[in-house]
Symmetry: C2
Subunit: 254 residues, 2 copies
DNA sequence: ATCTATTTGTACGTATGTATT
DNA sequence: AAATACATACGTACAAATAGA
């Protein structure tokens, strides 16, 4: 453990729990600790940092909120180093965009360059189980929706197709960013109910692109996969743009 | 806009501070609160939630760690809604990649598609101050470095050029992702000391690309800007790849 | 400039919950 | 089943910061 800290009045910018959290983080890095490794117990930290239980606990909450540690009760329990999960990272990043208004166009500007690149890299390298899973998903929007509920579900399913692809990326950065954009889009469409009114053209063309893409991925034709995805993105973008304009129109004064 | 709440299937076992944090978050969203708006005081929350001071405080720390609120002491103080800062969002996302090993190649695979897109959108739309600032940065690596220290600084400066461009993006998502990749790259090069040994070819070609890019941006030639950036990325990627291989070689047994 | 009220920040003792042996 | 080792939660008291009188 790092030596007990004396009160530095100069660095009043950070609260004490924040200082403690920072030090523990640095210490974990310095010690090259790995996920699963155990941190000192509460009691030990209280002694080492010469601080109260509350302060130490607040520091642990900070690290836990960031997804860096997890605590367990009971004997053999304690606080453990933890790799930040993808879900946690997405949730934290979503918060960043909460007060910045993203448009559908913003998201698609990213998708149209990123996703063709992804499928180009993936062509011919996907295991049969994944290809089967992808095909299974496409079945959920193979036919026109009968109800509004089903319409909503079809939107989600067609985005799940892309989420599955993103999860297959070898490049962790690429996989995360694409997965995140898909999540953003899912959130926006559900929140603004962009699946209403039903858009049969969007569904039909989407399903068709996905089927053709699957074939290209199976055959390992990277160029075709890239081209199909690019066309798919441009097409979906323009059709979704119509949806967004209509949704905005619903709330406009006459 | 995505929901700010962490929606997870595993929220069966949430600690009490986590439950409180979640409820407050939902409440903030529901009330359509904006940055600067004040949350109830500690005392009020203790009463409203019927929980101890410590529990409430831990909940506040969770929200604060995520960058969603800020607290101030004194009269008129309290806890205030806060827009997550770019720096905070970057730091939180960096944690995600800490245990996932990213390669230089991974980062460049993203940059080579994202950055040409960016400068294409920016061409002819940058105010003179920004263009001047960009030019000022390029001066820091206009000549070969004399010392190792200077070599390091030149690497950072040439990345700062890209960070400045990212900050000008109209698309918040695009700006964030590109800015983040640049920060990742800065961290990797500094950590692994990829500025050593000095690579004069990398510096010279980088400076040349940046100057030509600046001219295209000034003239509003989007096509040229895109093409120059694309070539720059491919070029830098291969040259940085050499650096990384050498750096790896330094630690390999003979 | 000093006091005062308000609000967060820190300390500490005690009791309870939980999982392992 | 019981003892043990740990985190979790509560209550109170007091310290520090800051705006306003």
């Amino acid at each position: 453990m790092p030596p007990a800290t004396t009160r530095s009045k100069t660095d009043a910018r950070l609260s004490r729990p924040e200082q403690v959290a920072r030090k523990i983080k640095d210490w974990v890095v310095e010690q090259r600790m790995r996920p699963g490794d155990r941190l000192p117990t509460e009691a030990e930290m209280i002694a080492d940092f010469a601080m109260s239980k509350g302060t130490i606990r607040e520091a642990m909450r900070i690290l836990e909120a960031q997804g860096l540690v997890k605590s367990r009760t009971g004997p053999g329990g304690g606080t453990f180093v933890h790799a930040v999960s993808t879900e946690r990272a997405r949730a934290l990043l979503s918060n960043y965009f909460y007060f910045r208004d993203l448009t559908i166009a913003d998201v698609y500007q990213m998708r149209r360059t990123l996703e063709p690149e992804l499928v180009g890299a993936l062509a011919g390298r996907l295991p049969p189980e994944v290809l089967d899973a992808l095909e299974a998903v496409t079945d959920r929007y193979a036919r026109p929706a009968q109800t509004l509920e089903e319409e909503r579900d079809q939107h989600v399913a067609s985005l799940e197709f892309h989420a599955l692809l993103a999860a297959q990326a070898d490049n962790p950065l690429q996989g995360f960013v694409i997965g995140f954009t898909v999540q953003l889009l899912t959130g926006i469409t559900l929140e603004r109910q962009l699946y209403e009114p039903p858009n049969e053209r969007l569904r039909a063309s989407g399903h068709d692109y996905h089927m053709r893409l699957l074939a290209a991925l199976r055959e390992g034709d990277a160029g075709a996969a890239r081209a199909i995805m690019k066309a798919h993105m441009e097409n979906a973008w323009s059709l979704m743009g119509d949806q967004e304009a209509m949704a905005a129109g619903r709330f406009l004064p006459e």
